[in-house]
């Protein structure tokens, strides 16, 4: 048993580092010191970087076996590294923002670490119970993070709404898991292939899968379970919104890959039809409603809903191939990377602009920004244009791979809807740019200077947008090698096998 503990540490240390750093920073934050915020921020950034490095290192080692709850394979390590990087960028971008708040809140960074730990747990398991625990660690930290601006009623309202709807979604997810357990006798997704179909339990199994999918649809903000997202994004503090829009998506889609991987061979589930419907509705509604928004954060909320739709299209492709193959998975992983980079880029700039103590919100707040902050405006424009999918940026390639894969497996209507929807999206992504460059500024507000580390980070991110857009080969290769080996080993239930 002693050996087991060592082995656990050896393979899970990148994730556990986040947990330990979270607890340490929680404790350091209570000892009175003028530098509390700085200490916890440095601690968090270091831990995130260390963890990302660790995940990347483990990624190269391949799969480690022999754990009951823990899955350490290239997929979990890829997603873990992505989550840790998201946390790193968020903690750097948020530091001046946190200092600018009426009460600088050192707990911000430990909550960020806790949430990231929950996210990594979600992607590092096939056991549904462990998954739910990770999900709850993430969600509970996020409920608090959303309500962090205690003196701002909007923040409290957002936290309240997120909490209520989030707990209802968790209850549905858990109910689905209990049905899954009831129909299979196990909580482990990876054991599905070895189970014999049980005709008595077919309905229960189907219902369980449906409820689980419903819980996921809520967490990723898929239409028609998206209604919480705009309100919560709107009321949450700016860096938290960015963290939610990226981290939660990566974690939830990462876990969804495992669920889809487990359910896809069970042909009695109309899995593809469900996901196609969700994707269709999400892409259309997300993009169309975004057109009518006046608030920057709401536009970005609907944009993130729309991107969830594109990712669901990828998921539908994954089911369509019948088996999990690098060909279907790598566009999703690449898209998650690019989406996170672009969205975090947008939110980092908006966080800088909100660091004057005043939360940027209305689209009008951007009027004439290019005269006052030309560099920031240019950077923000790059990220917006790339989100819309304009070549030669990363956003274009990510969409291109996703849609072409869908066409290859014959999902024509869905791919066409996706292409049309992203053409529409150009309009609302250009809106803020037009505001920055072609409107005269009325608003006189102070956004502080940008720290050197953040400047460097933003420069790197902009470079990344073009690097991924022009030279995607090496990054694509990484995502291509990130195939869950487990899935390839699992025998596929052939369609001729007896269905429940």
């Amino acid at each position: 048993m002693r050996l087991d503990v060592l082995q656990l540490w050896q393979h899970a240390w990148p994730s556990l580092t986040l947990l330990i750093a979270a607890m340490v920073s929680l404790l350091t934050s209570v000892f009175p010191s003028r530098h509390r915020a700085r200490i916890t921020a440095v601690l968090a950034a270091t831990a995130f970087l260390l963890s990302a490095q660790g995940f990347f290192h483990q990624w190269g080692l391949g799969e480690a076996k022999g754990f009951e709850f823990l899955v350490v394979d290239p997929l979990s390590n890829y997603l873990g590294a992505l989550i840790a990087l998201i946390g790193f960028i968020t903690s750097i971008a948020a530091y001046p923002y946190i200092l600018s708040q009426a009460e600088a809140i050192p707990e911000f960074f430990s909550l960020l670490l806790f949430a990231a730990f929950g996210m990594t747990t979600m992607v590092m398991t096939t056991n549904l119970l462990a998954f739910v625990l990770g999900l709850e660690i993430m969600s509970l930290s996020l409920y608090v993070l959303v309500g962090l601006r205690r003196y701002d009623p909007r923040s409290g309202e957002a936290a309240f709404k997120y909490f209520l709807l989030g707990s209802v979604a968790t209850a549905f997810l858990l109910f689905g898991i209990s049905f899954f357990y009831g129909s299979t006798g196990t909580l482990d997704l990876s054991r599905i292939p070895e189970l014999l179909p049980n005709p008595e339990m077919a309905t229960l199994f189907k219902l369980g899968a449906l409820l689980i999918l419903l819980g996921f649809a809520f967490k990723v903000g898929a239409v028609p379970f998206h209604f919480w997202a705009p309100d919560v994004y709107d009321g949450a503090p700016m860096p938290v919104t960015g963290f939610m829009a990226t981290g939660v998506k990566v974690a939830a889609f990462g876990a969804l890959i495992r669920v889809v991987e487990a359910f896809a061979p069970r042909h009695e589930l109309p899995l593809q039809r469900w996901i196609v419907m969700l994707s269709f509705a999400t892409m259309i509604v997300g993009n169309l409603v975004a057109l009518r928004q006046r608030h920057l954060k709401r536009i970005l909320a609907y944009s993130s809903i729309a991107h969830a739709g594109y990712l669901l299209l990828g998921m539908a492709t994954l089911v369509g191939t019948g088996e999990i193959r690098a060909a279907a998975l790598s566009p999703i992983l690449f898209y998650l990377l690019v989406y996170s980079l672009l969205t975090l880029g947008v939110f980092s700039v908006l966080t800088i602009l909100s660091s004057g103590g005043q939360e940027l919100n209305d689209l009008k707040d951007l009027d004439g920004l290019s005269e006052k902050r030309p560099v920031l405006s240019a950077v923000l424009s790059v990220f917006f244009i790339s989100l819309a999918g304009v070549p030669p940026t990363a956003g274009f390639l990510a969409k291109y791979y996703l849609f072409s894969q869908a066409i290859q497996v014959g999902l024509y209507p869905l791919a066409i809807a996706g292409i049309l929807a992203s053409a529409v999206s150009l309009y609302y992504y250009l809106g803020p740019i037009v505001r920055m460059y072609f409107h005269s500024h009325e608003k006189t507000w102070q956004a502080p200077g940008v720290m050197a580390s953040l400047r460097l980070l933003l420069a790197l991110m902009v470079a990344g947008v073009f690097y991924l857009g022009l030279f995607p080969a090496s990054t694509l290769e990484i995502s291509r090698r990130t195939v869950p080996i487990r899935a390839l080993e699992a025998p596929l239930a052939s369609p001729s096998a007896k269905l429940p």
């Binding site: 048993m1 002693r2 503990v5 607890m23 929680l26």
Partner: protein, 127 residues
């Protein structure tokens, strides 16, 4: 598995008997007892002290805080029970130290939570 419900018959009988007695005495005193209501008789009984204010008044937020803290630490005990029951078996299987260590880590984390709470002043009533 079949449950023999007739084993429970005496219990139900006692239950009905008790209900019948209590109910009939309440009914009897209600019908035949003299009723002379006065202000002090109708008043809320609060241990013989004249009541002050309304029972539906707002409680201090401090109570909520204490309730939350109590709830958390109370429910975590749920993990201690199965652990305590099974510890001897773990010991017999030679993994006693592992089981003990696992619980020690869990309690350490809880202790850190308590330390945090204490330092943040959540346990001070006056402030």
């Amino acid at each position: 598995m079949e449950v023999d419900f007739h084993h429970y018959l005496p219990l139900i009988f006692v239950l009905l008997l008790g209900l019948g007695f209590a109910g009939s005495f309440l009914l009897l005193s209600y019908t035949f007892g003299p009723k002379k209501p006065t202000a002090s008789k109708l008043d809320v009984y609060e241990c013989g002290v004249p009541p002050t204010g309304d029972a539906r008044e707002r409680f201090s937020v401090k109570f909520f805080l204490v309730a939350m803290i109590f709830l958390l630490f109370d429910v975590e005990v749920v993990f201690l029970f199965p652990w305590a029951v099974l510890l001897k078996e773990f010991k017999a299987a030679g993994t006693g130290f592992f089981a003990f260590g696992a619980m020690a880590v869990f309690l350490l984390i809880l202790g850190l939570g308590l330390l945090y709470e204490w330092r943040r002043g959540a346990l001070d009533w006056e402030s």
